[in-house]
């Protein structure tokens, strides 16, 4: 039963991501930061606005956490070290992560507050942008692996990582992954300076703690997905497989967190236009190139 080790690894990863995020955003490295802030939030009042859609307001953070956890359930940490090895794992990752959007729309609509509402609908637009390219890129990965199972996707990269085999797909996937985690520069739904917190603005206390935990889990999950789909998963010399997975996942997560510091937020208008006018054609091009390479050169 690899349930426990994977969940523990995931939580450890989320913890490290939270530490990293604190380091990146405040410049101070505080290993105990997430625990302290979790405790502090637990001791805070958790306010509920006056006329909310109470169900949505409560369900948003839970759904966000659930969808991130479910997506991580099919991502292998090592050969056989996976919670469920679904035959349609690659598709399942997507299916679970779509509910991130549902969760944010719920939290945006729930409190009947303007900033949150704008944020929620912005993320729905963001999904309309990134979701098609991400799915197409994963289709190209599946073409090479001849399977949708994540373990077989990793096995297919034993000789050559997908990041090198299909670099265009890798770039599109990385961008989409950051958009999916609403990390800067794609943090349109939460946009601190523009919407004063956006969808998370009305959450306080333990509900905010759940949201922050969910966000950290989401970042780890998506980084792990990048590792599995493009960076050869557990493959690597010397170190044991789980260590390679962990190292790659953390490196990807750190890269995603750090990159957003040095660029301004993307405009919503551009975001959509770029995904549709550049992202989708590139993803299609990627499929064709991979298709031709598979027929001619082989996997």
């Amino acid at each position: 039963m690899s349930f426990l080790p994977v969940v523990l690894a995931l939580l450890a990863g989320a913890y490290l991501v939270a530490v990293l995020e604190g380091w990146v955003s405040t410049g101070r490295f505080r290993p105990a930061g997430p625990i302290l802030s979790g405790l502090a939030l637990l001791g805070q009042e958790s306010l509920v606005p006056r006329t909310p859609d109470r169900i949505f307001f409560e369900a948003g953070p839970v759904l966000l956490l659930t969808s991130a956890l479910l997506a991580s359930a099919v991502l292998p940490l090592g050969p056989g070290v996976v919670i469920v090895d679904l035959a349609t794992g690659a598709l399942f990752v997507n299916a679970a992560l779509v509910y991130v959007m549902v969760a944010l729309v719920m939290s945006g609509w729930g409190p009947d507050a303007a900033y949150a509402m704008v944020g929620g609908f912005r993320f729905l637009g963001q999904l309309v942008g990134y979701s098609m390219p991400i799915v197409m890129v994963i289709a190209a990965v599946a073409m090479r692996a001849e399977s949708l199972a994540t373990t077989e996707v990793v096995e297919s990269q034993a000789a050559l990582w997908n990041a090198l085999y299909q670099p265009v797909g890798f770039v599109v996937f990385m961008a989409a992954a950051m958009a999916l985690c609403f990390l800067p520069p794609f943090d349109l739904p939460t946009a601190p300076g523009e919407l004063a917190g956006g969808v998370v603005a009305e959450y306080t206390g333990w509900r905010l703690a759940v949201l922050r935990l969910a966000r950290a889990v989401l970042v780890v999950t998506v980084a792990a997905a990048v590792t599995v789909f493009f960076l050869g998963g557990w493959h690597g010399p010397v170190l044991p497989p789980w260590a390679w997975s962990a190292v790659k996942t953390l490196a990807v997560a750190a890269g995603m967190l750090a990159a957003g510091r040095y660029v301004p937020r993307v405009r919503e208008e551009h975001l959509l236009a770029w995904w549709w006018k550049l992202g989708i054609p590139l993803a299609l091009l990627n499929i064709f190139v991979v298709g031709i390479m598979l027929v001619t050169v082989g996997g």
Partner: protein, 551 residues
């Protein structure tokens, strides 16, 4: 005990939580981080995380004396913070209606840091307390009004049904001072309700349409204004200020949003209770001090303005050395002010590196001892400017945003980014001697304004090192003289003018013209029909200082 503890008896778990909370203080800074930086303090460096919304803060940090309007806004923000919460006053005596400050400190980084330590102790001790006083002041009292979901203009005191469509009225919050404008509205006779009550009325009826079971959407939407794509949605008024993280504090901005697009913008208001002009008149000796307190974001410029006007009235001219020292002081402030703007702009753009770096440089510049140190900072500022210039996505983000209509009245960097060489410094002897030429760019958008300011930071720092002094300008002695005086100063935001009448050593009347008062009129053209983020970027690129908007 802190002023906003949670109501519970301390237990081991609560003590643990309180200790954690004391380590994790998040601050909502009032008026705003930019005012804190301009006053030379940095709450972030003191260990307080800066929160974007009062909901995510546990400490309300008040920096400097606040005018009444902002104190009221601060009280609302404080009321919306989750407990445990506390008030930390930095250089502020009067914080009412907020509860008396838990910790007070003088304006200064060391005092601030020492205050944070005390605050942490108080939090660890008193985050939970068996009797927590309720925070209830008139400023935060709201009464519940009842509005029709379809007809926002229908506002009633009592629950009931809308006279126009018969829908149940829904409760909404209204501030205590506000009066429902629909209170006196005439009541319509309710038409007998029926399953298909609308069928007889058709589209010809006017507002007397009373079918309850079913109502006509056609009528509901007919009078609404149309968006650019021809769809008629409902508009909502949303406040984006006075305490909004991405904009200068005190700017009471109200957007009427059509979805996420700004249909109308309203910002023609100064800060309530700030700088009554009568209070500024008085003895000439201290007039410059008083005027320099007008705008916390550029005190030196206003001190200089007052000095010049007084000298002009008294008929004395400053010597060359004073002139140069004034150039140094004003240019240092210009560079610091632009860096401060840059930090705030970085916050709005979500460009955290820029926010931090510009803030650091601004504080270093403010604390700098003399021209040598300024010269060292000039190198770092140049480095910053180059990094910003090469930032990916920045051009796409700013280009074409915030363009001004032709003939818009502007001055300062806003005008110079639009291709005009308007700069009062060109006419000044001291500047001419230093070989000053204004930075002029074409573009007339947020990007060109950013570039002008970046170039001006370098230029100003260069001028400082050539002027060789950064001492604050000497106040001219009033000396019991009389006369009228006029002066102009190119402040960091643009041209400020002052005309005053001096009688027997006292300023009896004066008239002041400030750049932000003029630029406030530009808020509408740069923001309307723009997406929210673009509108905010356009407004922020004007670098308004609501403090200067005197009435």
């Amino acid at each position: 005990m802190i002023s906003g503890p949670r109501e519970a008896r301390p237990s081991w778990l609560r003590r643990l939580v309180a200790r954690a909370a004391a380590r994790e203080l998040a601050a909502f800074v009032v008026p705003g981080p930019e005012v804190a930086r301009a006053r030379g303090i940095d709450p972030g460096a003191a260990g307080l995380a800066i929160a974007d919304t009062p909901r995510h803060a546990s400490v309300l940090v008040v920096v400097g004396e606040l005018p009444e309007g902002l104190r009221r806004a601060a009280a609302v923000a404080y009321a919306q913070m989750p407990r445990p919460r506390a008030v930390f006053a930095v250089g502020a005596e009067n914080v009412s209606p907020l509860p008396g400050p838990d910790v007070s400190a003088a304006l200064g980084q060391e005092d601030l840091e020492e205050g944070v330590v005390r605050l942490r102790e108080m939090f660890a001790e008193g985050a939970f307390h068996p009797n927590a006083p309720e925070f209830d002041v008139p400023a935060i009292r709201s009464r519940t009004g009842y509005v029709c979901p379809m007809h926002p203009e229908v506002v009633r005191e009592e629950p009931g049904q809308c006279p126009r469509c018969g829908m149940d009225l829904v409760p909404r919050e209204a501030a205590a001072g506000e009066h429902g404008e629909g209170d006196g509205e005439r009541d319509h006779e309710e038409a007998p309700s029926g399953e298909h009550g609308h069928a007889e009325h058709g589209a010809h009826d006017d507002m007397d349409h009373g079918g309850m079971g079913f109502m006509s959407m056609v009528e509901m939407t007919r009078d609404l204004p149309r968006s650019s794509d021809g769809l008629q949605m409902e508009w909502v008024e949303v406040p984006f200020g006075p305490l909004f993280p991405g904009l200068p504090a005190g700017l009471a901005l109200t957007f009427t949003l059509d979805g996420d697009t700004v249909a109308e913008a309203e910002a023609e208001r100064g800060i309530e209770g700030w700088a009554p002009l009568e209070g500024l008149s008085g003895p000439a000796e201290t007039f410059a001090d008083r005027l320099s307190g007008l705008d916390p974001l550029s005190p030196v410029a206003y001190r200089l303005l007052a000095s010049r006007a007084l000298e002009n009235a008294a008929g004395v001219a400053p010597d060359e050395r004073t002139g140069l020292a004034r150039v140094g002081a004003l240019e240092r402030e210009r560079a610091a002010s632009h860096l401060n703007w840059l930090a705030g702009f970085g916050r709005l753009l979500g460009y955290s590196w820029l926010e931090e770096r510009a803030g650091e440089l601004q504080l270093a510049l403010l604390w700098s001892a003399g021209p040598e140190e300024v010269a060292r900072l000039a190198g770092e500022a140049g480095e910053l400017a180059r990094r910003v210039e090469w930032t990916p996505l920045l051009r796409r983000r700013l280009g074409g945003i915030g363009t001004l209509p032709a003939g818009a009245e502007a001055s300062g960097p806003v005008a110079r980014a639009g291709g005009s060489a308007a700069d009062a410094r060109r006419d000044e002897e001291a500047y001419r001697r230093l070989g000053f030429e204004p930075v002029v760019l074409r573009g007339n958008d947020a990007l060109s304004r950013l570039r002008v300011r970046l170039a001006e930071i370098e230029q100003s720092l260069d001028l400082v090192s050539r002027a060789g002094s950064v001492s604050t300008p000497v106040v001219a002695p009033g000396g019991g003289s009389s006369g009228t005086g006029a002066a102009t100063v190119e402040t960091p935001r643009g041209l400020a003018t002052l005309n005053l009448i001096l009688e027997g050593g006292a300023v009896v009347a004066f008239e002041i013209g400030t750049p932000s008062a003029r630029h406030l009129k530009l808020v509408k053209p740069v923001s309307e029909q723009r997406e929210v983020a673009d509108a905010l970027v356009g407004i922020a690129s004007l670098d308004l200082s609501p403090w200067e908007v005197v009435r």
